[in-house]
């Protein structure tokens, strides 16, 4: 494995659009090897936080720091709520990030074949990716994120559009990634899912990180009234 | 090789040849000429004869006389072959052309609706016939494009002392054929060269209502573009074409061109 890029540190990071702060003053350390679930109401800034960590947007104030300078794509990957699959075959979708990384064609085919096997996609290899079912599409998106061997995987509501059986498959895959040592940072609005997967919880409220602790502690006794209300199912704003 | 495969092969070869067209490395000259000569079909008749004799291909661009002279002036043609005497002389005088040769003539005719509502037919001169059309305010379709035919028409109006304007006067700004199409549709009078008229197949209600006045005489001249102005002009091949067309052989080819048994152009060289 290449040099570790974790921990990831946000130092008073903020993100504002047109003077309107969407994330403010977020200080957060993501250590290696943990499963961190980001919780919060709609519009609290969960997706934005993930995009900021992943590097799709830059903080407008404060800093984002990896252990090794700027983490290159490949060492970190992201799975979106609705994955954008390319209009080509399943196998070609898996080969694409490898090609971006400059892997020679022969090596690509080999890695793609192994990945297809591992994710149970071998039978679908030559199918057009856009014609897969929702669950199969998300499985392919996970495989595509995994294929470059990331150290940290960001997942933005990966199951929100899926039925329970597809959700279970995705959760199992996430658990296996974690068992392999991949750090997981994931948002969800499904509290059951959060309880099943979380080792740590970060709770966002109106763009601010107001709670960050181990999952057991968070679910047993949240420290802030907002988190308590959130867990109780109240609508908070 | 099986017949099917040969078919496929020859079809492929044909396509390739089409795509590679025109790959003929043949000597050619470019002649800027008038729509009247091209539309009548004269070139289709005489050029193959010339090419068979000399091996020189003649590429004709059919334009109005004004535009054809401009094409020559810009050096985009080797020879101009037009019919507007005054403009031709000016072209040579300004040094754009080497020398003008008489080639042939046909004549202009006034065509109009068969019933001749303006009474142009009984006139004794062409100018009078035109004046009758104007007096009756009968529709008249004009080329309006600075072509040789248009120049001849304007000369007739000026002889008749008439400034053609008003709702009856349709300036089409297009070639002879397009103007005749307009006239046929509008039931209008029009001045046309006889060659285009004889070769024209969409006459509708039109027929010749006036002809025969000597002022309707329509001479064609041929001029080599001056190689001193445009060094790339193919002077030798161009001169060969001019020499041929004014020679007895060329004049005979022109005289032999007929439509419905009628001769369209009359040699005037020599």
């Amino acid at each position: 494995m290449t040099a570790a890029i974790l921990p990831l540190t946000l130092d008073r990071a903020g993100y504002a659009v047109g003077g309107k702060p969407l994330l403010s003053d977020v200080t957060l350390t993501v250590p290696a090897g943990r499963r961190l679930i980001v919780l919060g109401a709609n519009g609290a800034g969960k997706s934005l936080l993930l995009r900021l960590c992943h590097g799709l947007i830059e903080p407008t104030s404060g800093r984002r720091r990896w252990a090794q300078g700027e983490a290159r794509p490949g060492a970190q990957a992201m799975v979106f709520q609705r994955p954008i699959l390319l209009r080509r075959t399943v196998a070609a979708n898996l080969a694409y990030p490898l090609a971006l990384r400059g892997l020679p064609r022969a090596g690509r085919a080999d890695t793609v074949a192994r990945t297809l096997d591992r994710f149970g996609l071998a039978a679908l290899a030559d199918r057009p990716a856009r014609l897969l079912s929702g669950g199969e599409q998300q499985r392919l998106a996970l495989a595509r994120a995994w294929v470059t061997g990331p150290q940290v995987l960001f997942l933005d509501e990966p199951c929100s559009a899926l039925d329970p059986s597809a959700t279970r498959i995705i959760e199992e895959m996430i658990a296996r990634f974690s068992a392999e040592g991949i750090t997981i940072v994931m948002t969800t609005h499904d509290l059951g899912q959060a309880r099943r997967l979380a080792q740590d919880v970060a709770f966002l409220h109106r763009g601010r990180l107001i709670e960050h602790q181990a999952a057991d502690g968070f679910f047993a006794g949240p420290q802030t009234p907002e988190a308590r209300a959130f867990l109780a199912g109240d609508l908070i704003w | 090789m099986s017949p099917t495969r040969r078919h496929v092969l020859s079809a492929l070869t044909g396509l390739t040849l089409l795509a590679a067209l025109p790959a003929r490395a043949q000597e050619f000259i470019t002649v800027a000429s008038t729509t009247s000569t091209e539309n009548s079909g004269l070139f289709g008749h005489i050029l193959p004869i010339f090419q068979a004799e000399t091996g020189i291909e003649v590429r004709v661009i059919a334009q109005g006389t004004g535009q054809a002279l401009e094409t020559g002036r810009r050096g985009d043609a080797d020879v101009v072959f037009v019919h507007a005497r005054a403009q031709e002389d000016k072209f040579v005088a300004a040094g754009w052309g080497v020398q003008r040769f008489d080639v042939m003539y046909n004549d202009f005719v006034l065509v109009g609706p068969a019933e001749d509502p303006a009474g142009a037919g009984p006139a004794t001169t062409a100018a009078e016939a035109m004046a009758n059309v104007a007096a009756a305010a009968a529709p008249f379709a004009s080329r309006g494009d600075d072509s040789g035919t248009h120049v001849a028409e304007m000369n007739l109006w000026s002889t008749a002392g008439i400034r053609p304007e008003g709702g009856w006067y349709l300036s089409t700004g297009s070639g002879m054929g397009a103007t005749l199409n307009t006239a046929a549709q509008a039931g209008a009078y029009a001045l046309t060269d006889r060659g285009t008229w004889l070769g024209f197949n969409n006459r509708g209600p039109l027929q010749i209502v006036f002809q025969g006045d000597p002022v309707l005489f329509n001479p064609y001249g041929i001029i080599l573009v001056n190689p001193e102005k445009h060094p790339h002009v193919k002077a030798e091949a161009g001169q060969k074409f001019i020499d041929w067309i004014v020679s007895p052989a060329g004049q005979r080819a022109i005289a032999d061109f007929r439509i419905g048994g009628e001769q369209l152009f009359f040699g005037s060289a020599g």
Partner: protein
């Protein structure tokens, strides 16, 4: 007047050599122009969609407006450029198929550029985060977006082909409608109209439409196939 449909059919059945040559030249000129316009226009349109530079809006408006460039004006521009008295006169290209290809390329290019820009811009909005996440930069995204937009882009290319194969103003000016050399379907139709051979002109029009129709049908079928095959 014999029915133009009968005339058209007879002409095709006889495989009239002059007609075949005219059809061949028309296809060669237009398809070459489409090809050149694509080679230049697809990357240019995609670059215009992704690049941000001062004056970008002006360039986009310019290309949109150029889609309405009258063929005669395109013809005149090429005519003046290629004329012996023009800046490119030494190449002796006026009144050749090459000049016609240049004029038609000028006509099609704005269509290809504008449509590509629009298609790629929409795709980029959809794909941006995913492609950047996978490690592509804007430059590397260009071929990906072009390939994923291929079915939509095909429509633009067909629009370009349609404009080029239908126009007469430009090819007439720069080609000169020389028999056996630069006479295309449209200039032949013009000539026959001027000769008053309206039946023959319509017959040629029918053949041209049949060609355009077959080509569009083939492209549509290819698009449908790609859609069902690759989503």
């Amino acid at each position: 007047m014999e029915s133009p449909f009968v005339t058209a059919f007879t002409l095709m059945q006889r495989a009239d050599p002059a007609l075949m040559q005219i059809i061949g030249l028309s296809l060669r000129v237009t398809l070459t122009a489409v090809l050149i316009a694509c080679v230049i226009g697809l990357p240019l349109g995609a670059a215009l969609a992704l690049a941000r530079f001062p004056g970008r809006g002006g360039v986009i408006v310019l290309f949109n407006a150029l889609m309405g460039l009258p063929p005669v004006v395109a013809g005149l521009v090429i005519y003046l450029a290629l004329s012996r008295s023009g800046p490119l006169g030494t190449f002796a290209l006026l009144f050749t198929p090459a000049a016609m290809i240049a004029a038609q390329t000028l006509l099609i290019l704005p269509i290809v550029v504008s449509l590509t820009r629009s298609v790629v811009e929409d795709l980029w909005a959809e794909y941006r985060d995913q492609l950047l996440s996978l490690g592509a930069n804007r430059l590397r995204a260009v071929p990906t977006l072009l390939w994923d937009g291929r079915v939509s882009l095909l429509t633009g290319v067909l629009a370009g082909f349609g404009r080029a194969s239908a126009e007469v103003g430009a090819v007439l000016i720069v080609g000169g409608n020389i028999a056996g050399h630069t006479r295309t379907m449209t200039t032949a139709i013009t000539l026959e109209t001027n000769r008053g051979n309206l039946g023959l002109a319509v017959a040629l029009g029918i053949i041209l439409m049949a060609l355009t129709l077959s080509l569009n049908a083939a492209a549509w079928a290819a698009g449908q196939w790609a859609r069902s095959r690759l989503g």
